[in-house]
Symmetry: C2
Subunit: 194 residues, 2 copies
Protein backbone atom coordinates (compact mmCIF):
# COMPACT_ATOMS: atom_id res chain seq x y z
CA UNK A 1 0.00 0.00 0.00
CA UNK A 2 2.24 2.75 -1.27
CA UNK A 3 -0.14 5.64 -0.60
CA UNK A 4 1.61 7.74 -3.18
CA UNK A 5 0.81 11.41 -2.87
CA UNK A 6 -0.01 13.26 -6.09
CA UNK A 7 2.38 16.13 -6.81
CA UNK A 8 -0.48 18.61 -6.90
CA UNK A 9 -1.23 17.87 -3.28
CA UNK A 10 2.33 18.46 -2.19
CA UNK A 11 2.52 21.69 -4.14
CA UNK A 12 -0.65 22.90 -2.47
CA UNK A 13 0.76 22.21 1.00
CA UNK A 14 4.15 23.72 0.24
CA UNK A 15 2.58 26.71 -1.43
CA UNK A 16 0.23 27.25 1.46
CA UNK A 17 3.14 27.16 3.90
CA UNK A 18 4.99 29.72 1.82
CA UNK A 19 2.04 32.08 1.60
CA UNK A 20 1.20 31.74 5.28
CA UNK A 21 4.70 32.60 6.36
CA UNK A 22 4.56 35.73 4.19
CA UNK A 23 1.08 37.11 4.77
CA UNK A 24 -0.38 35.19 7.65
CA UNK A 25 -3.25 32.71 7.69
CA UNK A 26 -6.21 35.03 7.27
CA UNK A 27 -4.69 36.92 4.36
CA UNK A 28 -4.04 33.66 2.53
CA UNK A 29 -7.03 32.60 0.46
CA UNK A 30 -7.62 29.17 -0.94
CA UNK A 31 -8.06 30.63 -4.40
CA UNK A 32 -4.61 32.15 -4.31
CA UNK A 33 -3.05 28.99 -2.95
CA UNK A 34 -4.58 27.04 -5.79
CA UNK A 35 -3.51 29.56 -8.40
CA UNK A 36 -0.01 29.72 -6.95
CA UNK A 37 0.23 25.93 -7.13
CA UNK A 38 -1.18 25.77 -10.65
CA UNK A 39 -4.08 23.59 -9.55
CA UNK A 40 -7.75 24.41 -9.96
CA UNK A 41 -9.77 25.57 -7.00
CA UNK A 42 -11.97 22.50 -7.19
CA UNK A 43 -9.02 20.23 -6.58
CA UNK A 44 -8.34 21.89 -3.26
CA UNK A 45 -11.51 20.52 -1.73
CA UNK A 46 -10.88 17.19 -3.36
CA UNK A 47 -7.49 16.77 -1.68
CA UNK A 48 -8.49 18.57 1.53
CA UNK A 49 -12.12 17.85 2.35
CA UNK A 50 -11.55 19.59 5.66
CA UNK A 51 -11.19 22.86 3.79
CA UNK A 52 -8.86 25.64 4.68
CA UNK A 53 -8.32 24.37 8.20
CA UNK A 54 -6.98 21.04 7.00
CA UNK A 55 -4.77 22.64 4.39
CA UNK A 56 -3.35 25.09 6.93
CA UNK A 57 -2.78 22.34 9.46
CA UNK A 58 -0.82 20.27 6.97
CA UNK A 59 1.13 23.34 5.89
CA UNK A 60 2.19 23.99 9.47
CA UNK A 61 3.23 20.39 9.94
CA UNK A 62 5.09 20.43 6.63
CA UNK A 63 7.09 23.50 7.61
CA UNK A 64 7.72 22.07 11.06
CA UNK A 65 8.99 18.77 9.69
CA UNK A 66 11.26 20.48 7.20
CA UNK A 67 12.97 22.42 9.96
CA UNK A 68 13.03 19.39 12.25
CA UNK A 69 14.82 17.30 9.63
CA UNK A 70 17.48 19.96 9.20
CA UNK A 71 17.83 20.31 12.96
CA UNK A 72 18.25 16.59 13.40
CA UNK A 73 21.07 16.50 10.90
CA UNK A 74 22.93 19.51 12.26
CA UNK A 75 22.53 18.56 15.90
CA UNK A 76 24.62 15.47 15.29
CA UNK A 77 27.62 17.83 15.30
CA UNK A 78 26.60 19.17 18.69
CA UNK A 79 24.09 21.62 20.14
CA UNK A 80 26.06 24.73 19.23
CA UNK A 81 26.17 23.67 15.59
CA UNK A 82 22.46 22.97 15.74
CA UNK A 83 21.81 26.39 17.20
CA UNK A 84 23.90 28.03 14.52
CA UNK A 85 22.07 26.22 11.75
CA UNK A 86 18.69 27.00 13.29
CA UNK A 87 19.39 30.72 13.42
CA UNK A 88 21.07 30.73 10.02
CA UNK A 89 17.97 29.15 8.52
CA UNK A 90 15.75 31.99 9.68
CA UNK A 91 18.33 34.55 8.69
CA UNK A 92 18.43 33.19 5.17
CA UNK A 93 14.67 33.22 4.86
CA UNK A 94 14.58 36.84 5.95
CA UNK A 95 17.34 38.10 3.70
CA UNK A 96 16.47 36.03 0.64
CA UNK A 97 12.90 37.34 0.66
CA UNK A 98 13.65 40.92 1.53
CA UNK A 99 12.13 40.44 4.99
CA UNK A 100 8.80 39.46 3.49
CA UNK A 101 8.71 35.91 4.79
CA UNK A 102 8.90 34.66 8.35
CA UNK A 103 7.79 31.55 10.18
CA UNK A 104 4.39 30.06 9.30
CA UNK A 105 4.16 28.34 12.68
CA UNK A 106 4.53 31.66 14.44
CA UNK A 107 2.03 33.25 12.08
CA UNK A 108 -0.80 30.85 12.87
CA UNK A 109 -0.01 31.02 16.58
CA UNK A 110 -0.73 34.73 16.65
CA UNK A 111 -3.96 34.80 14.66
CA UNK A 112 -7.53 34.06 15.43
CA UNK A 113 -8.34 30.90 17.29
CA UNK A 114 -10.83 29.53 19.78
CA UNK A 115 -13.75 30.35 17.54
CA UNK A 116 -14.47 26.75 16.75
CA UNK A 117 -12.38 24.15 14.98
CA UNK A 118 -9.51 26.31 13.76
CA UNK A 119 -8.02 25.12 16.98
CA UNK A 120 -6.59 22.17 15.05
CA UNK A 121 -4.13 24.51 13.37
CA UNK A 122 -3.07 25.84 16.75
CA UNK A 123 -2.58 22.32 18.03
CA UNK A 124 -0.30 21.52 15.11
CA UNK A 125 1.72 24.66 15.82
CA UNK A 126 2.05 23.66 19.45
CA UNK A 127 3.37 20.26 18.44
CA UNK A 128 5.89 21.77 16.08
CA UNK A 129 7.22 24.09 18.76
CA UNK A 130 7.41 21.28 21.29
CA UNK A 131 9.19 19.10 18.75
CA UNK A 132 11.91 21.65 18.13
CA UNK A 133 12.29 22.19 21.86
CA UNK A 134 12.64 18.48 22.46
CA UNK A 135 15.27 18.05 19.78
CA UNK A 136 17.41 20.85 21.17
CA UNK A 137 16.94 19.77 24.78
CA UNK A 138 17.97 16.22 24.06
CA UNK A 139 21.12 17.34 22.30
CA UNK A 140 22.00 19.57 25.23
CA UNK A 141 21.42 16.73 27.66
CA UNK A 142 23.68 14.49 25.62
CA UNK A 143 26.40 17.07 26.07
CA UNK A 144 26.36 17.13 29.81
CA UNK A 145 23.68 19.63 30.68
CA UNK A 146 21.17 18.75 33.38
CA UNK A 147 17.72 17.91 32.05
CA UNK A 148 15.92 20.86 33.66
CA UNK A 149 18.52 23.32 32.48
CA UNK A 150 18.52 21.76 29.02
CA UNK A 151 14.77 22.20 28.69
CA UNK A 152 14.97 25.83 29.72
CA UNK A 153 17.77 26.55 27.29
CA UNK A 154 16.01 24.79 24.44
CA UNK A 155 12.83 26.79 25.01
CA UNK A 156 14.84 29.99 25.21
CA UNK A 157 16.46 29.25 21.87
CA UNK A 158 13.17 28.61 20.08
CA UNK A 159 11.40 31.56 21.66
CA UNK A 160 14.23 34.00 21.02
CA UNK A 161 14.59 32.87 17.43
CA UNK A 162 10.89 33.19 16.69
CA UNK A 163 10.62 36.55 18.37
CA UNK A 164 13.71 37.83 16.64
CA UNK A 165 12.38 36.81 13.23
CA UNK A 166 9.26 38.89 13.82
CA UNK A 167 11.31 41.84 15.04
CA UNK A 168 13.57 41.62 12.01
CA UNK A 169 10.60 41.69 9.66
CA UNK A 170 9.29 44.86 11.28
CA UNK A 171 12.68 46.54 11.50
CA UNK A 172 13.85 45.29 8.11
CA UNK A 173 17.25 44.34 9.51
CA UNK A 174 18.83 41.13 10.70
CA UNK A 175 20.14 43.03 13.71
CA UNK A 176 17.82 41.43 16.24
CA UNK A 177 18.57 37.95 15.00
CA UNK A 178 22.31 38.62 14.97
CA UNK A 179 22.28 39.94 18.52
CA UNK A 180 20.25 36.99 19.69
CA UNK A 181 22.67 34.67 17.93
CA UNK A 182 25.66 36.21 19.69
CA UNK A 183 24.06 35.91 23.11
CA UNK A 184 22.70 32.41 22.67
CA UNK A 185 25.94 31.12 21.24
CA UNK A 186 28.03 32.37 24.12
CA UNK A 187 25.43 31.16 26.58
CA UNK A 188 25.41 27.66 25.14
CA UNK A 189 29.14 27.53 24.64
CA UNK A 190 29.74 28.47 28.26
CA UNK A 191 27.46 25.70 29.48
CA UNK A 192 28.13 22.80 27.17
CA UNK A 193 30.75 20.27 28.14
CA UNK A 194 32.73 19.79 24.96
Amino acid sequence: MTELTPPSRQQLVAGAADMIRRRGLNATSIREIAKHAGTPLGSTYHYFPGGKQQLATEAVRFAGDTVARMLDKKLRAGPVDGLRAFLALWRDILTSTGFQAGCPVLAVSVEEAADDERLAVLAAAAEVFSGWETQLAESLRQHGIEPAEAEQLATLVVAAAEGAVAMCRAQRTTRALDRVAAQLESLLASTVDR
Copy 2:
Protein backbone atom coordinates in the same frame (compact mmCIF):
# COMPACT_ATOMS: atom_id res chain seq x y z
CA MET B 1 -3.74 74.38 22.68
CA THR B 2 -5.07 71.46 24.66
CA GLU B 3 -5.85 69.21 21.71
CA LEU B 4 -8.31 67.25 23.79
CA THR B 5 -9.08 63.86 22.36
CA PRO B 6 -12.69 62.73 22.39
CA PRO B 7 -13.28 59.60 24.43
CA SER B 8 -14.73 57.79 21.44
CA ARG B 9 -11.42 58.11 19.67
CA GLN B 10 -9.48 56.65 22.55
CA GLN B 11 -11.92 53.80 22.90
CA LEU B 12 -11.53 53.00 19.22
CA VAL B 13 -7.76 52.85 19.51
CA ALA B 14 -7.78 50.82 22.70
CA GLY B 15 -10.43 48.48 21.33
CA ALA B 16 -8.51 48.01 18.12
CA ALA B 17 -5.38 47.14 20.06
CA ASP B 18 -7.30 44.60 22.10
CA MET B 19 -8.85 42.95 19.06
CA ILE B 20 -5.60 42.91 17.12
CA ARG B 21 -3.75 41.18 19.91
CA ARG B 22 -6.47 38.52 20.04
CA ARG B 23 -7.23 37.79 16.40
CA GLY B 24 -4.56 39.54 14.39
CA LEU B 25 -4.87 42.49 12.06
CA ASN B 26 -6.59 40.91 9.09
CA ALA B 27 -9.26 39.21 11.17
CA THR B 28 -10.13 42.49 12.85
CA SER B 29 -12.71 44.43 10.86
CA ILE B 30 -13.46 48.11 11.28
CA ARG B 31 -17.13 47.34 11.80
CA GLU B 32 -16.34 45.12 14.75
CA ILE B 33 -13.94 47.63 16.24
CA ALA B 34 -16.64 50.29 16.06
CA LYS B 35 -19.27 48.01 17.55
CA HIS B 36 -16.91 46.93 20.29
CA ALA B 37 -16.22 50.56 21.14
CA GLY B 38 -19.87 51.54 21.02
CA THR B 39 -19.28 54.08 18.27
CA PRO B 40 -20.90 54.12 14.84
CA LEU B 41 -19.00 52.98 11.80
CA GLY B 42 -19.20 56.44 10.28
CA SER B 43 -17.25 57.94 13.16
CA THR B 44 -14.33 55.68 12.47
CA TYR B 45 -13.55 57.38 9.20
CA HIS B 46 -14.16 60.75 10.78
CA TYR B 47 -11.53 60.21 13.45
CA PHE B 48 -9.22 58.19 11.23
CA PRO B 49 -9.37 59.49 7.67
CA GLY B 50 -6.47 57.20 6.86
CA GLY B 51 -8.77 54.24 7.32
CA LYS B 52 -7.84 50.93 8.82
CA GLN B 53 -4.14 51.52 8.36
CA GLN B 54 -4.17 54.65 10.49
CA LEU B 55 -6.29 53.05 13.17
CA ALA B 56 -4.02 50.02 13.31
CA THR B 57 -0.92 52.17 13.43
CA GLU B 58 -2.24 54.15 16.36
CA ALA B 59 -3.31 50.96 18.10
CA VAL B 60 0.20 49.57 17.82
CA ARG B 61 1.70 52.78 19.17
CA PHE B 62 -0.85 52.86 21.97
CA ALA B 63 0.00 49.35 23.07
CA GLY B 64 3.69 50.09 22.75
CA ASP B 65 3.47 53.22 24.86
CA THR B 66 1.46 51.47 27.55
CA VAL B 67 4.15 48.84 27.97
CA ALA B 68 6.92 51.44 27.71
CA ARG B 69 5.43 53.47 30.56
CA MET B 70 5.26 50.43 32.79
CA LEU B 71 8.80 49.45 31.83
CA ASP B 72 10.10 52.90 32.61
CA LYS B 73 8.62 52.77 36.08
CA LYS B 74 9.82 49.29 36.94
CA LEU B 75 13.29 49.77 35.50
CA ARG B 76 13.96 52.41 38.10
CA ALA B 77 14.37 49.55 40.56
CA GLY B 78 16.97 47.96 38.30
CA PRO B 79 17.07 45.87 35.12
CA VAL B 80 16.20 42.61 36.81
CA ASP B 81 13.04 44.13 38.27
CA GLY B 82 12.23 45.54 34.85
CA LEU B 83 12.70 42.15 33.26
CA ARG B 84 10.48 40.50 35.85
CA ALA B 85 7.73 43.07 35.32
CA PHE B 86 8.00 42.75 31.54
CA LEU B 87 7.58 39.00 31.63
CA ALA B 88 4.88 39.15 34.29
CA LEU B 89 2.90 41.52 32.12
CA TRP B 90 2.75 39.05 29.26
CA ARG B 91 2.06 36.20 31.61
CA ASP B 92 -0.91 38.02 33.07
CA ILE B 93 -2.31 38.80 29.62
CA LEU B 94 -2.06 35.14 28.67
CA THR B 95 -3.61 33.69 31.80
CA SER B 96 -6.30 36.33 32.28
CA THR B 97 -7.61 35.79 28.74
CA GLY B 98 -7.31 32.03 28.63
CA PHE B 99 -4.42 32.29 26.16
CA GLN B 100 -6.60 34.15 23.68
CA ALA B 101 -4.68 37.41 23.71
CA GLY B 102 -1.06 38.06 22.90
CA CYS B 103 0.95 41.02 21.73
CA PRO B 104 -0.56 43.29 19.05
CA VAL B 105 2.87 44.49 17.98
CA LEU B 106 3.94 40.95 17.27
CA ALA B 107 0.68 40.28 15.47
CA VAL B 108 1.07 43.05 12.91
CA SER B 109 4.74 42.17 12.42
CA VAL B 110 3.81 38.73 11.19
CA GLU B 111 0.98 39.57 8.83
CA GLU B 112 0.80 40.90 5.35
CA ALA B 113 2.95 43.88 4.41
CA ALA B 114 4.80 45.33 1.45
CA ASP B 115 1.66 45.52 -0.63
CA ASP B 116 1.56 49.27 -0.52
CA GLU B 117 1.04 51.62 2.39
CA ARG B 118 0.26 49.11 5.10
CA LEU B 119 3.93 49.44 5.66
CA ALA B 120 3.17 52.28 8.06
CA VAL B 121 1.86 49.78 10.56
CA LEU B 122 5.05 47.78 10.26
CA ALA B 123 7.11 50.92 10.80
CA ALA B 124 5.21 51.65 14.01
CA ALA B 125 5.83 48.10 15.20
CA ALA B 126 9.53 48.48 14.47
CA GLU B 127 9.67 51.66 16.54
CA VAL B 128 7.91 50.01 19.44
CA PHE B 129 10.33 47.09 19.47
CA SER B 130 13.32 49.42 19.23
CA GLY B 131 11.92 51.54 22.04
CA TRP B 132 11.62 48.60 24.40
CA GLU B 133 15.11 47.46 23.47
CA THR B 134 16.53 50.91 24.14
CA GLN B 135 14.88 51.17 27.53
CA LEU B 136 16.25 47.82 28.66
CA ALA B 137 19.69 48.43 27.20
CA GLU B 138 20.04 51.77 28.91
CA SER B 139 19.10 50.30 32.25
CA LEU B 140 21.65 47.54 31.80
CA ARG B 141 24.33 50.06 30.89
CA GLN B 142 23.55 52.05 33.99
CA HIS B 143 24.22 48.93 35.99
CA GLY B 144 27.70 48.36 34.73
CA ILE B 145 27.22 46.34 31.58
CA GLU B 146 29.17 47.30 28.50
CA PRO B 147 27.08 49.01 25.81
CA ALA B 148 27.48 46.29 23.19
CA GLU B 149 26.62 43.54 25.64
CA ALA B 150 23.70 45.57 26.99
CA GLU B 151 22.19 45.95 23.54
CA GLN B 152 22.49 42.24 22.85
CA LEU B 153 20.90 41.34 26.16
CA ALA B 154 18.06 43.81 25.70
CA THR B 155 17.26 42.43 22.26
CA LEU B 156 17.40 38.90 23.60
CA VAL B 157 14.90 39.78 26.32
CA VAL B 158 12.39 41.33 23.94
CA ALA B 159 12.75 38.60 21.32
CA ALA B 160 12.49 35.77 23.84
CA ALA B 161 9.45 37.30 25.51
CA GLU B 162 7.61 37.86 22.25
CA GLY B 163 8.43 34.41 20.95
CA ALA B 164 7.46 32.80 24.22
CA VAL B 165 4.08 34.56 24.23
CA ALA B 166 3.30 33.09 20.83
CA MET B 167 4.45 29.64 21.91
CA CYS B 168 2.33 29.83 25.04
CA ARG B 169 -0.74 30.71 23.02
CA ALA B 170 -0.26 27.68 20.80
CA GLN B 171 0.59 25.33 23.66
CA ARG B 172 -1.96 26.78 26.03
CA THR B 173 0.54 26.80 28.88
CA THR B 174 2.77 29.42 30.44
CA ARG B 175 5.57 26.88 30.40
CA ALA B 176 7.58 28.53 27.65
CA LEU B 177 7.35 31.93 29.27
CA ASP B 178 8.29 30.53 32.66
CA ARG B 179 11.33 28.74 31.29
CA VAL B 180 12.43 31.83 29.44
CA ALA B 181 11.97 33.85 32.62
CA ALA B 182 14.18 31.49 34.60
CA GLN B 183 16.96 31.61 32.04
CA LEU B 184 16.85 35.34 31.43
CA GLU B 185 16.75 36.14 35.11
CA SER B 186 19.79 34.09 35.94
CA LEU B 187 21.57 35.43 32.88
CA LEU B 188 20.94 39.04 33.82
CA ALA B 189 21.59 38.48 37.50
CA SER B 190 24.96 36.92 36.74
CA THR B 191 26.00 39.88 34.63
CA VAL B 192 24.59 42.88 36.43
CA ASP B 193 26.78 44.66 38.95
CA ARG B 194 24.46 45.25 41.86
